[in-house]
């Protein structure tokens, strides 16, 4: 596992030197900023506004995550550098975890505008910080899961665009499950809701940290990363 920080650093360097990263960062900050500013009015509920600021990334992540993860493996596979990487004294697990952590840290940078908005709301008046802290925990877990999905798509695809499209389609599908299951109480609806990442995130924004939601994110992220490792191993056999 000693190679993980090296790979993470390499990935972060690649991110911050590529124009796509700045395009994603700018687009995220602009869209989040516009949607947040529309919510700020002459009279506002600070608690609700902080919850809103934290709920916005649910939708924006579906657009940003494919752009962030599409190149992680697809680019290496297409350019052939994957062979070099795989023959280096690093394990597939280290490669996957290193790239995953790089993407996760980059996402944390992407969320800086949200922190600025929270600070702005704090300056307007006192309110309960607990739900914001739990909201950030939830956001971290949600992002990790969405990035893990993107990582798997990238590991299975040779083309960046294909990887991004598949990733986007999967995320839209998962979000659609949430919409389908919302308000319904039948078993199938509960199952659909359970499978949808945003549904688990909302309780975090209300200040509730539920072990069911924690388990869902941790287990699903772990499973997706494991599958990414297996997908890389499968490629090695060929």
């Amino acid at each position: 596992m000693i190679n993980i920080p090296v790979i993470t650093k390499r990935e972060l360097g690649a991110y911050f030197l590529s124009p796509i990263a700045y395009i994603v960062l700018t687009a995220f900050a602009l869209m989040h900023g516009i949607l947040f500013s529309l919510q700020v009015g002459p009279s506002m509920d600070l608690q609700a506004a902080s919850r809103y600021a934290l709920a916005l990334p649910i939708y924006l992540l579906a657009l940003a995550a494919p752009a962030l993860t599409m190149r992680l493996f697809s680019e290496e596979i297409r350019s052939g550098t994957i062979e070099t990487l795989m023959t280096a004294p690093v394990t597939e697990t280290e490669v996957v975890l290193g790239k995953f952590l790089g993407a996760l840290i980059f996402s944390a940078v992407m969320f800086t505008p949200i922190m600025a908005e929270i600070v702005f709301l704090r300056l307007l008046g006192p309110w309960d910080v607990g739900p914001v802290l739990s909201g950030f925990l939830g956001l971290f877990l949600l992002t990790a899961q969405i990035l893990a999905i993107g990582l798997l798509c990238s590991a299975l695809s040779r083309m960046q665009i294909a990887s991004a499209i598949i990733n986007f389609a999967i995320l839209i599908g998962l979000y659609f499950l949430w919409i389908l299951g919302r308000g319904q109480t039948a078993a199938w609806a509960r199952l659909l809701r359970y499978a949808a990442p945003p549904w688990h995130y909302l309780s975090f924004t209300r200040g509730v940290v539920d072990t069911r939601d924690l388990a869902y994110y941790v287990v699903s992220t772990g499973a997706l990363l494991f599958l990414s490792v297996r997908a890389l191993q499968l490629r090695k056999w060929r």
Binding site: P19, F36, M44, Q47, G183, A187, G207, V209, D210
Partner: protein
Amino acid sequence: MRTDPTPRWKTLTRAGIALGLLLACAGFVLRDISARAFVERDIVSTGLWLGGALLIGLGVILNFRALLGALRSTRTAEQINFAVVLVLALAIAGLLCYISTRRFWRMDWTGAGQHRLHSQTVNILKNLDRDVLAATIYSSGQPGDFYIKGRIADLLEELKSRTPHIETMYLDLDSPGTQQRLRKLLQERLHIDNVPCPSVVFATEARHETVLFENLVESSRGPQGSLNVFKGESAFAGALVKLTEEKRATLYALTGHGEKSFEPAPPASRPGQARGIAGDPARSMSRALKALKNAYYEVKPLDLAAVGKVPDDCDALVLAGPHAPLSEGEMKAIRAYLDERKGAALFLLDSRITPHVKTNMAELLSAYGIEPHEEAVGVSLQLVLDAVGVRQSPQPMVLVDPQQMANHPATKDLEAQHILLQDPCPLRVRPETAPENLRPLALLKGRTESWGESDLDAARKNKATYEPDKDMEGPVVVGAVVEPRPSLSQSPGAETPSGPRIVALGGSESFLNYSVESVPGNLYLLLNCVNWAAGKVQMLGIPPKTMEINVVSVSGGALRASRYIFMGGIPGLIVVLGVVVWLIRRR
């Protein structure tokens, strides 16, 4: 050598395997949906399984050789390996997630404990020994209902996290197909024809309790102004207690001496006796009655002079501010109830600042170590606004000091409540006059600057001043309890010894509708005291929660700043950074 192309029908049979799998899965899903929707679809499900199995079987038989060949290739082996790993990983992940849904707990990170259950609710849930269905019936078309439904769902999730005995169901009447499910629920589970909407129905196999949405939210005035409180937890805990308790506790409210009425209508009184103050809804205790009914009490009037004794089914006797003396027979009956039958009584004691008050409560209570001084009144300095400006004025009311509250079950979790007792009769606690087996205790006191004023005229005119030789020294005691004294050999935490339980609170005015509407803490105090006296310790102190609304006014400057920073400043900064990096790399 050229091989013959695969016939089209044979290719289709391969697709048949996939179709068969799909049909079999559809059979399972349909059966589950049918079960939840209380609809019989077993024939269709079985048909789908059989059809699916037939298609799979036929496909496998017809393509046996091709399947065998495919299975032998390396590529297929790799794919099967990955597929097996995928299935196993998903199965393990699913299993872990399933386990996490069966055994889970929730952590509340809000500062005010918005999503935290009270210890009494947790106790009720721990002792819940039967399955309870909590069906929330609402209409999503009503915005108010939808908002409260969110709070209810959150609370029910919290209850579910503490016990496996609660199952939830949500019926949105605006959703298609709900009417059928509701009919099925009413017929098969609740055995009734109709249920009010919006409401939450808690049902066991034998009984059900309905909590209306309108009883869950209350607007009240507190120290910080008007705010909405959510009373879901106490209402749901009450409903669960009702479902599990065998019988309602019975309170008897003494009548015939000008006591406050629990009912809005005037109580019957015998000729020549003082009438109850009733008729005006604001001056009745009907809100207290409603709260007591919600806590599974039955309140019955008691004409002790006519009956001669306190009824056998009495769990607690309430004397809600008598204004006339009790007859010797009535006194004897109450003493017999308390001493011989180890009964419980709640005394709401008025001062003579209220005209025509002259009782013999002192005679009755002093035997238990509590001395009410109705010839005086509790006075404290209150901030008032008049023509002169804001000043301190001595008012005949006492704001209970939370720091001075006795550590007693009757005051459990009331520290955060605003309790203001009006025209309270000052009390003195004298342990030396109480029987050895009883322990009198000062329960509630005013702040240090409060006192017991003996000049009632001055108190009426808000001109009272403390005179050490005439008045009762502060902080004035406005609430006291008498309870059985635990023996020295009794281990800590052991069951409370049997004996009379008495609560005396100053000022029956404090519990009238108009009073508890503006000071809800008074009502929670009353409920706590009744619960303690009646021995319903599991119902003690479940205060409501304020709705988390923190509205502020945002200045024009702040509005503009937010737009400049978040729509221009931050995105612009990132663009600049990107350009700088691009320029550096270009060099």
